[in-house]
C-alpha cells in the first residue's frame, strides 16, 4: 500500500477504447493530488492510451505490470484539471 494518498482500483477488464480511459478519467475526477489510480485493463491499446492521457493531463504513469491476462497500470495523480 502507498503511504501518501488513497489508492483507487478501477477494473476496466473486458472493455475497449475508450472504456478504460473513460473509467480512469471518472476515478481521476473523484481523486485528490497524491492519490493513485490502479487501472486493470485487457484492451491492448490501454498502455499507450494511458501514457498519452498522463502526458496530456500532467499526471504520472508510475507503474505498468503485465499480469497473466491483463495489464495493471498505476497512475499517480500529480495534477488536477477541471
Amino acid at each position: 500500500m502507498s503511504e501518501v494518498g488513497k489508492r483507487h482500483v478501477v477494473d476496466s477488464r473486458g472493455s475497449f477504447c475508450p472504456g478504460p480511459i473513460t473509467d480512469l478519467f471518472k476515478a481521476y475526477r473523484a481523486a485528490n493530488i497524491g492519490d493513485e489510480i490502479e487501472l486493470l485493463a485487457t484492451d491492448p491499446a490501454a498502455k499507450s492510451d494511458v501514457e498519452a492521457w498522463a502526458a496530456r493531463s500532467g499526471n504520472q504513469l508510475a507503474e505498468v505490470t503485465q499480469e497473466k491476462d491483463y495489464l495493471r497500470l498505476v497512475v499517480k495523480v500529480t495534477k488536477k484539471g477541471r
Partner: protein, 168 residues
C-alpha cells in the same frame, strides 16, 4: 536554461488547457457515429474542450426517435465482407446492422445512447444544425435531452476557431 524549460513547460500547460477538439458529424450510420463519440469522449478525458456539430444525416444520431436504430449501410461500404451488388438486395441493410450490433454487444461496447450520456457527463458540448432541423422537419423536442443548443454554421465556425476540427 532553467528559465527556458520553465517557459516551455508553461506554454505546454497553456496549450493543454486551451486545447479544443471539434467534430462535424454529417453521417447518421453506426459506423460513423461510433468513431465520432469515441474521439469526442476520449478528447474530453484528456482535458480538451470538445464540441460536436450534428448536421445532415448526423442529426439522426441525436434524434431521440432514431438514435436507438442507427444502421450500417452495405451499399457503397467496401469494408463489409460482401459484394456491393448483394448489399442492394432487400433486407441486406438489416442483416449487416444485426451482425454489427451482435458484435458490439458481444464485446460489451457501449451503445450510442450510452456514449451520448457519457459525452455529456464528460462535458462534451453537442450542437444541432438549425438548417438540417428545418430540412428534416425536426424540432428541439425531437432531439435527445443531452443537446446543448441549436446553432448555425457561423456559430460553429466561431466556436471551433483555433481548435482541431474533423469532418465525418
Amino acid at each position: 536554461m532553467a528559465t527556458v524549460l520553465a517557459q516551455k513547460e508553461k506554454v505546454g500547460q497553456v496549450e493543454a488547457a486551451q486545447h479544443k477538439f471539434c467534430i462535424i458529424l454529417s453521417k447518421g450510420s453506426l459506423d460513423m457515429a461510433y468513431p465520432a463519440f469515441m474521439l469526442a469522449n476520449t478528447a474530453a478525458t484528456m482535458g480538451s474542450e470538445v464540441h460536436v456539430f450534428f448536421t445532415f444525416w448526423g442529426l439522426n444520431v441525436i434524434n431521440r426517435e432514431k438514435v436507438g436504430s442507427l444502421k450500417i449501410e452495405p451499399v457503397g461500404n467496401p469494408g463489409l465482407p460482401m459484394p456491393n451488388i448483394l448489399g442492394m438486395l432487400p433486407g441486406m441493410t438489416a442483416m449487416a446492422t444485426r451482425m454489427m450490433r451482435g458484435r458490439i454487444e458481444k464485446i460489451k461496447m457501449p451503445t450510442i445512447p450510452e456514449m451520448i450520456k457519457t459525452a455529456k457527463e464528460l462535458g462534451v458540448k453537442l450542437h444541432a444544425c438549425s438548417t438540417t432541423m428545418e430540412l428534416q422537419g425536426v424540432t428541439k423536442e425531437n432531439l435527445v435531452a443531452e443537446i446543448d443548443d441549436v446553432v448555425g454554421a457561423a456559430t460553429f465556425l466561431q466556436i471551433s476557431e483555433g481548435g482541431q476540427t474533423l469532418f465525418i
